[in-house]
C-alpha cells in the first residue's frame, strides 16, 4: 500500500477525475443518473486517495517533498513530469478533494439551466484534475499546463450555466486571467533561459538562481511577470475587476469552486514559485504587494458596503479577504506565510459556504437583492443560523477558522522579514486592523437585513421558502464542521505548513538580526538587499531603546 501510494498516489489523484470524465464522455447524455453516480464515485475516490495521502504523509518532515515522481516528459523542451507533495500543498490539495464531491452532491437535484448534467459534471471533473495538478506539480511547464487547464472548464461553466450577463463575465474572466498567465509564462521561460538550468523543475531552477546569480534587474522583471500572473488570479487590487462579475454570473457550484480553490492558485503561486525562486526580488517587491494588499482590504470592504446584491457582496468580500492573505505573504516571514495558507484554507471553506448559501437562497427567493430579503431566521431558521455562523466566521471571530488567517497576518506585519521597511509594514498592520472593523460592518449588515426582522410581504406566505434540505446538509456539514474544528485547533493546518514554509524561505529572510552575532550574520552570505550587513551594535540598541 505504502509503496503503491508513493509511486502512484499523486498521479492517481490528479488523473482519476479525467478518467471519470472520459467514461462519462462515452455515455449518452440522457442517462443522467449514471452520470451523477459516476461523477460522485470518481470524486469520492479522489477524496479517498487524498485521505490516504494524508494518512501516510510524514507530518514530521513536511518540508520534504513526499510521494515524489520524477519521469521524463517532454524532452524537447526539458520539461519533466515531477510531482510531489509537501506541507504547503497538502492543505490545499485536501481542500480541493473535499470541495469537489460536496459540489457534486449539492447540485444533485438542481442543476442550473440549461441542465445538461453530463457536460456540467465533466467540466467539474476536468477542473478537479487541473486544480490538483497545479498543487502537486513541481515543474514549471507542468504547473503552467495545469494552471491553464483550469481556465477552460470554468469559462464554460460561467458562459453556459451562468446568469444573465454570463457572456461578458466569462470572456472577461478568461481573457484577463489568460493575459496574466501569458506574462507568467514569459517569466518562467526567461528564468529558465537565464539560469541555464537543465530542466524546469523548481528545485533546480532555485539552485541555479543562487549559483548563476541572475542579474538583479532581470530578477525584478521576472518577479514582476509572475506578480501579474499570480496577482490577477488572486485577485489583487487593482486587477480584481473580473472577480465580482465572474462570481455574480457563475452558477452556485462554479462560484464555490472559484472561491474555494481557484483563487488559491494565485496565492499558492507566490508561496510555491515566486518567493522561493526569487527571494531577492521578492524583498524589493514585497512593500508594493503589501500596499496593494491593504488597499484591497479596505477597498474591498467599502465596495461590499455599497452592494445591493448578496452574491456580489460576497464576491467583493473575497477581494478583502485575499488582501489579508497577500499581506501575510508580503511579510516574507514564516509566520506571515503560514497565516496566508491558513487564510487560504479558511477563506475556501467560509466563502465557499457563503456562496452555497447564496445559491440556496436564490433558489428559494429567486432574487438576492438584499432589500427584498429579510426574516430568513423566521422562515428557514436553520439556514438563518448557518448564515449567521458563516458571517461570524467570515468576519474573523476567534474560535472559527477565519480568525487564524486574519490575526496572524496582522501580527506578522508588525515584524516583517529582514530587508523590508518596518514602519511601512506597521502602517499596513494598522490599516489591515481597520479592515476587520469594516468586515464586521458589511457582514453584520448583510445578516441583519437578510436574516433578522420579519419576512417581506411578497415572501411572507411563500411556500417555496423552506428550510435546509437533506442534500444541503450533506454538502454543508463537512464545511461547517471544519470551520469550527480549525477554529478551535488551528494546528490542524499549521502542523502541516510550518516546517514547509520555513524551508521555503532563505535564511537571509528569517535570521534574527537582533539576536545573532556578527559572525552568524556574515556566514549567511546575504546580499545587501536584506539590510543585515549594517546591523551593528548601534542598531541593536536602537531597536530596544
Amino acid at each position: 500500500m505504502d509503496n503503491l501510494l508513493d509511486s502512484w498516489g499523486l498521479t492517481v489523484a490528479t488523473f482519476s477525475p479525467l478518467v471519470g470524465a472520459l467514461v462519462m464522455f462515452l455515455i449518452p447524455k440522457e442517462k443522467e443518473y449514471e452520470h451523477k453516480i459516476i461523477a460522485l464515485v470518481t470524486s469520492l475516490w479522489v477524496a479517498f486517495v487524498g485521505f490516504m495521502l494524508l494518512i501516510w504523509f510524514d507530518l514530521d518532515a513536511t518540508e520534504k517533498l513526499q510521494y515524489v515522481v520524477d519521469k521524463s516528459w517532454i524532452d524537447a523542451i526539458h520539461s519533466r513530469y515531477v510531482v510531489g507533495l509537501d506541507g504547503i500543498s497538502l492543505p490545499l490539495l485536501l481542500l480541493t478533494v473535499l470541495i469537489v464531491p460536496l459540489c457534486i452532491v449539492y447540485s444533485w437535484n438542481h442543476f442550473p439551466d440549461p441542465k445538461n448534467p453530463k457536460t456540467f459534471l465533466i467540466l467539474i471533473l476536468v477542473l478537479e484534475t487541473g486544480m490538483i495538478g497545479t498543487f502537486v506539480a513541481q515543474d514549471m511547464v507542468l504547473f503552467f499546463v495545469f494552471f491553464e487547464v483550469v481556465l477552460l472548464p470554468m469559462f464554460f461553466m460561467i458562459a453556459v450555466w451562468g446568469g444573465p450577463n454570463r457572456k461578458y463575465a466569462s470572456l472577461k474572466f478568461f481573457l484577463y486571467t489568460l493575459f496574466g498567465s501569458a506574462l507568467m509564462l514569459v517569466s518562467f521561460l526567461s528564468l529558465f533561459f537565464l539560469t541555464g538550468a537543465e530542466s524546469f523543475v523548481f528545485s533546480e531552477i532555485a539552485d541555479n538562481v543562487v549559483a548563476h546569480t541572475v542579474s538583479r534587474t532581470a530578477q525584478l522583471w521576472i518577479f514582476g511577470g509572475m506578480f501579474l500572473g499570480f496577482g490577477i488570479k488572486v485577485p489583487m487590487f487593482p486587477f480584481h475587476t473580473w472577480l465580482p462579475d465572474a462570481h455574480t454570473e457563475a452558477p452556485t457550484v462554479g462560484s464555490v469552486i472559484l472561491a474555494a480553490v481557484l483563487l488559491k492558485l494565485g496565492t499558492y503561486g507566490f508561496v510555491r514559485i515566486a518567493i522561493p525562486l526569487l527571494p531577492d526580488a521578492a524583498v524589493e517587491w514585497a512593500p508594493w504587494i503589501g500596499l496593494l494588499a491593504v488597499i484591497g482590504i479596505i477597498y474591498g470592504a467599502f465596495c461590499c458596503l455599497a452592494q445591493t446584491d448578496m452574491k456580489r457582496l460576497i464576491a467583493f468580500s473575497s477581494v478583502a479577504h485575499m488582501g489579508f492573505v497577500m499581506l501575510g505573504i508580503s511579510t516574507l516571514t514564516d509566520f506571515g506565510i503560514n497565516a496566508a495558507i491558513m487564510g487560504m484554507v479558511a477563506h475556501g471553506l467560509i466563502t465557499g459556504m457563503l456562496f452555497f448559501l447564496a445559491g440556496s437562497m436564490k433558489e428559494r427567493y429567486h432574487t438576492l437583492e438584499i432589500k427584498r430579503l429579510g426574516g430568513l431566521l423566521v422562515q428557514a431558521p436553520k439556514m438563518g443560523w448557518i448564515l449567521g455562523f458563516c458571517a461570524m466566521a467570515s468576519l474573523g471571530l476567534p474560535g472559527l477558522a477565519g480568525f487564524w488567517g486574519e490575526f496572524p497576518a496582522i501580527l506578522s506585519a508588525y515584524n516583517p522579514a529582514n530587508g523590508l521597511p518596518v514602519e511601512t509594514f506597521r502602517t499596513f498592520m494598522v490599516i489591515a486592523a481597520l479592515g476587520t472593523v469594516l468586515a464586521a460592518g458589511y457582514l453584520l449588515w448583510l445578516l441583519q437585513r437578510s436574516a433578522f426582522g420579519t419576512p417581506k410581504e411578497e415572501f411572507a406566505e411563500d411556500p417555496n421558502i423552506y428550510d435546509t434540505t437533506k442534500t444541503e446538509w450533506i454538502a454543508w456539514a463537512p464545511l461547517l464542521a471544519l470551520i469550527l474544528a480549525i477554529g478551535i485547533y488551528p494546528n490542524l493546518v499549521f502542523r502541516a505548513t510550518d516546517a514547509a514554509v520555513d524551508a521555503s524561505l532563505t535564511p537571509c529572510l528569517t535570521i534574527d538580526a537582533d539576536k545573532s552575532t556578527h559572525e552568524e550574520i556574515e556566514s549567511a552570505h546575504c546580499s545587501e538587499v536584506y539590510g543585515l550587513s549594517d546591523h551593528g551594535p548601534d542598531d541593536h540598541t536602537a531597536s530596544k531603546g
Partner: protein, 763 residues
C-alpha cells in the same frame, strides 16, 4: 564593535516570573471551569428543546457545578497563598544593555523564593499557578493555551459563577414562555464559558479569543428579539463599537508579543501574560513601546467597559432581556476591560507611569466617564437606562482607580459593584415583569406597597450604590478615593501619586450617584401608580436571587476593611487585598494609600447631601405638588429647566446624550455606508473596470483591423469582446466560444514567446 555586540547578546540571565506549576488539584485543573458550561452550551443547543424544561436545567446544573468548583478553587487559593513553599518558575532573558537597570529594578527582591521572612509593605510573595498545553505551532513559535490562577482570577471566578447562577435561576421565571427560551439558555451557557475562560487566560492570545467570544454572546443576547429592528440595531451597534476597540486590542497584543520576544532567546515573541508583565514591571521593556501598547489596549477597554467616548453602545444594549443586562452588561462582561487592565497591570503601570504622577490617560478617561455617565443617568425615563448609565459611571470609577494606582480598590469595587448592580438590574426586571414596561414616568410609581420584596432589595442595592456606610459600595468607593492620594488639607494618603483632580471627580460623582438613585427610587416605588393593570410581587425564583444579592450588597464590603480600622482586629483587615492582590514578579510594585477617617467622613457627608437635595425635590416638593394637583407627578411643573435657559440647554444636551450618537450613527457610519462606499464602488465600476473593458475592446479593434488587412480569411475569429453570441444553447455556444478561445490563446502564447525572447535579449 564586534566584541561589544557579543557581550550584549550572549549574556543571559533569568528572571523570576512569580508563577509556579505546583499547587493543589483545584488550582491545577481550573480549565474544567470554562469547559463545563461550554459542554452545557453544546448540550442545550442540540438537545435542549427535547428536555422537559427546555434546556434550562442543563444550564443551571452546569453553573451550579462550576460555582462549587470556583468556591473550592477559592479556598484552595487561600491555602496556597498562605502556605505554599514550592518552586518558582523563571524565564531566561537576554540581558542586554538594560541589564544594569534590570538588576536594581528590585525584582531580585522576590527572586529568592525561599525567603519568606520578609514582611515588607507588599507582604509575602504569592505565586500564581500556571498550567499550559501547546495549542499550535507556527513560525517555529509555540503558542500555548492554559490557565493562570491567582487572586484576581479566583475572585472573578467566584463573581461570574455566582451572578451567572443566580441569573440562570431568575431567568427560568423571567423568560418563561419566551419564543426562544432554549436559545436564550444556550447563549447564557456559552457566555459563562467564554467569560470564565477569559478570567483564567494564561496568555493574551487566549484573552483576545475569549474577549471576542463574550462579545459574540453579548451580540446574540442583545439581539435576542431580533424581529424588531431596534433590537438588532442595538446588537449591531454593540458589536461594531466593540470591534473598533478590538482593533486596539489586536494591535496592542501584537506590540507586546514582539516586545517581550525581543528579550527572550530563541523566540521572536511571547503572548504569556506573566512574562510580559514581569518584563514590563521590571523596567526591561522600553517605555515608549509600553506607552503605545497601553494606549492601544486602552481603546479596547473603552469599548468593552463602556468608557467615554465609546460607551454609547451600552445603554442601547438594554434592548436585550433584563437578566442579560444584569449578567453581561453590568456584573461581568463589561468589567472585562477593567479586568484586562488589572491583568496586564505591569504594562499599564509602566506605560502610563502611574506611580508618582498626577495625571494620566487612564485616570482621566475613567474620571471623565464617571461624571459623564452620572449626569446622563439623571435624564432617563427608562429605569434600565438609569442603571446602564450608572454602570458606565461605576466602570469609570474602576478605571480611574486603576489609573491612580489603586489596584486593589478597583478590584474590590468591581467585586461589590457586581452584587449591588446585579441586584438593581434584576430588581428593575422584577418591576418590569409586573408592569410590562421600563418607563418610570408613565408606568411606575407607588410600587413599594405591591412589591415589598423587590422594593426592599432595590433600596438596599441603591444605598450600596450610593455608598452609605456600612453598605458594600461605601467601602470600595472609599478605598478608591483614598487611593487617589488625597489632597493636602485632608492629609495625603501616600498613594502612588497625587491625583487630586481624580479625587474631586470621584467626590462629585458620589453626590450625583446618590441623587439620581434617589430620583430613581422615588419614581419607581413612591407616589401613586401611574401605569395600567394590577402589578403584583414576582415569584420566588425572582425574589430569592434578589435577596441573595441584597445580602451580599450589605455585607461584601466587610471583606476588605481598611488597614488600621480600629474597630476590628487586625486579622480581619484587608482580607480581600491580601488574597486578591498578587505579590509576585509579574505584578508591579505599587504603593498602598493609608486609609483616612477624614476622607471617609467627608465623602459620606457628600453622599448624604446628594440624597438630601434629591429628597427635598422629589419626596418633599414633587410629593406636595402631586397632592395639590391630585395626580402622581414625576417632576415639578415649574422646575429649573422651565425657568432657566441654561438649565434647559444642559438638559437638552443630556437628553441627546451629548450628541455622540448623532456623530457616530448619523455622521460617521452613514458617511462610511453611503458616500464613501458608493464612491469606492462607483470608481471601481467607472475607472478600474472601464479601463479593463477599454483595453480589451481596443485590443480587439486593433486585431480586427490588422487581420482585415493582412488576411481576410481569418476575420471571423475575432468578435467584439463584449460578446455578440446569438445562441443560448450550450452545445452551439461551446463551438463558437471554443473557436474564439483557441484563437485568443494562440495569439497570447505567441506574444508570450516573443516577449520572453525580448526579455532575454534585453536584460
Amino acid at each position: 564593535m564586534i566584541e561589544l555586540l557579543a557581550a550584549t547578546t550572549s549574556s543571559l540571565t533569568s528572571i523570576p516570573l512569580g508563577i509556579t506549576q505546583e499547587g493543589n488539584w483545584f488550582l491545577q485543573n481550573a480549565w474544567l471551569i470554562p469547559l463545563i458550561p461550554a459542554l452545557s452550551f453544546v448540550g442545550i443547543l442540540f438537545f435542549g428543546k427535547r428536555l422537559p424544561r427546555g434546556g434550562s436545567e442543563l444550564g443551571i446544573a452546569a453553573l451550579l457545578a462550576v460555582f462549587l468548583l470556583s468556591i473550592c478553587t477559592g479556598f484552595a487559593w487561600m491555602d496556597h497563598r498562605d502556605n505554599f513553599h514550592g518552586e518558582e518558575i523563571s524565564q531566561t532573558i537576554i540581558n542586554g544593555e538594560h541589564g544594569e537597570h534590570g538588576e536594581h529594578g528590585e525584582h531580585g527582591e522576590h527572586g529568592e523564593h525561599g525567603e519568606h521572612g520578609e514582611h515588607g509593605e507588599h507582604g509575602e510573595p504569592s505565586l500564581a499557578v500556571v498550567n499550559t498545553a501547546t495549542w499550535f505551532v507556527t513560525g517555529g513559535v509555540e503558542f500555548s493555551v492554559g490557565t493562570l490562577v491567582d487572586g484576581p482570577a479566583v475572585m472573578m471566578l467566584f463573581v461570574v459563577t455566582l451572578v451567572s447562577l443566580l441569573v440562570h435561576i431568575y431567568s427560568t421565571d423571567y423568560v418563561a414562555g419566551d419564543r426562544r427560551f432554549t436559545h436564550f439558555f444556550a447563549f447564557l451557557s456559552l457566555f459563562s464559558a467564554s467569560m470564565l475562560l477569559l478570567v483564567i487566560s494564561e496568555n493574551t492570545l487566549q484573552l483576545l479569543v475569549s474577549w471576542e467570544l463574550v462579545g459574540l454572546c453579548s451580540f446574540a443576547l442583545i439581539g435576542h428579539w431580533w424581529e424588531e429592528k431596534d433590537n438588532s440595531n442595538a446588537a449591531l451597534k454593540a458589536f461594531l463599537t466593540n470591534r473598533v476597540g478590538d482593533m486596539g486590542l489586536l494591535i496592542g497584543v501584537t506590540i507586546l508579543f514582539f516586545a517581550s520576544g525581543e528579550m527572550i532567546p530563541d523566540s521572536f515573541g511571547s503572548f504569556s501574560i506573566a512574562t510580559t508583565n514581569t518584563l514590563a514591571s521590571s523596567g526591561l521593556l522600553s517605555h515608549s513601546t509600553l506607552l503605545i501598547a497601553a494606549c492601544c489596549l486602552m481603546a479596547a477597554v473603552m469599548s468593552k467597559s463602556g468608557q467615554f467616548f465609546l460607551h454609547t453602545w451600552l445603554p442601547d444594549a438594554m434592548a436585550g432581556p433584563t437578566p442579560v443586562s444584569a449578567l453581561i452588561h453590568a456584573a461581568t462582561m463589561v468589567v472585562a476591560g477593567v479586568f484586562m487592565i488589572a491583568r496586564l497591570y505591569g504594562v499599564f503601570f509602566e506605560g502610563f507611569s502611574i506611580g508618582g504622577s498626577s495625571i494620566n490617560l487612564m485616570a482621566l478617561v475613567g474620571g471623565f466617564t464617571t461624571l459623564v455617565g452620572a449626569c446622563l443617568a439623571f435624564v432617563q425615563r427608562d429605569i434600565k437606562k438609569v442603571l446602564a448609565y450608572s454602570t458606565i459611571s461605576q466602570l469609570g470609577y474602576m478605571v480611574m482607580a486603576l489609573g491612580v494606582g489603586a489596584w486593589t480598590a478597583a478590584m474590590f469595587h468591581l467585586f461589590t459593584h457586581a452584587f449591588f448592580k446585579a441586584c438593581l438590574f434584576l430588581g428593575s426586571g422584577s418591576v418590569a415583569h409586573s408592569v410590562h414596561s421600563f418607563d418610570m414616568k408613565s408606568d411606575m410609581g407607588g410600587l413599594r406597597k405591591v412589591m415589598p420584596q423587590t422594593y426592599r432589595t432595590f433600596i438596599i442595592g441603591s444605598i450600596a450604590l450610593a455608598g452609605l456606610p456600612p453598605f458594600a459600595g461605601f467601602w470600595s468607593k472609599d478605598e478608591i478615593l483614598v487611593g487617589t492620594g488625597g489632597w493636602g488639607i485632608m492629609g495625603g494618603t501616600n498613594g502612588n501619586g497625587s491625583y487630586t483632580f481624580m479625587l474631586v471627580m470621584g467626590m462629585i460623582t458620589a453626590a450625583l450617584t446618590a441623587a439620581y438613585m434617589t430620583r430613581c427610587v422615588y419614581l419607581t416605588f413612591f407616589g401613586e401608580f401611574r401605569g395600567h393593570g394590577n402589578p403584583h410581587e414576582s415569584g420566588p425564583r425572582i425574589t430569592i436571587p434578589l435577596w441573595i444579592l441584597a445580602v451580599l450588597a450589605v455585607f461584601a464590603g466587610f471583606l476588605n476593611l481598611p488597614k488600621g480600622f480600629q474597630l476590628v482586629p487586625e486579622s480581619l483587615q484587608e482580607r480581600f487585598g491580601h488574597y486578591v492582590e498578587p505579590v509576585a514578579g509579574y505584578f508591579p510594585k505599587i504603593s498602598h494609600a493609608t486609609p483616612s477617617w477624614s476622607l471617609a467622613i467627608i465623602s459620606t457627608i457628600i453622599v448624604v447631601a446628594g440624597i438630601s437635595l434629591a429628597w427635598n425635590y422629589y419626596f418633599v416638593k414633587v410629593e406636595k405638588a402631586s397632592k395639590e394637583s391630585g395626580q402622581s407627578l414625576t417632576e415639578l411643573p415649574d422646575g429649573l429647566t422651565t425657568r432657566l435657559t441654561i438649565a434647559r440647554m444642559g438638559h437638552t444636551l443630556l437628553v441627546n446624550k451629548y450628541y455622540l450618537d448623532h456623530l457616530y450613527t448619523g455622521i460617521i457610519t452613514r458617511a462610511v455606508k453611503e458616500p464613501i462606499a458608493e464612491l469606492t464602488y462607483r470608481s471601481n465600476q467607472e475607472i478600474l473596470d472601464r479601463t479593463v473593458d477599454t483595453v480589451g475592446r481596443t485590443a480587439v479593434r486593433v486585431g480586427q483591423l490588422n487581420y482585415h488587412k493582412i488576411d481576410q480569411k481569418i476575420v471571423d475569429g475575432f468578435v467584439n469582446a463584449s460578446g455578440r453570441i446569438s445562441s443560448d444553447s450550450g452545445e452551439e455556444l461551446r463551438k463558437i466560444q471554443s473557436g474564439k478561445v483557441q484563437s485568443y490563446a494562440a495569439i497570447l502564447f505567441a506574444a508570450a514567446t516573443i516577449l520572453a525572447g525580448l526579455l532575454i535579449v534585453i536584460v
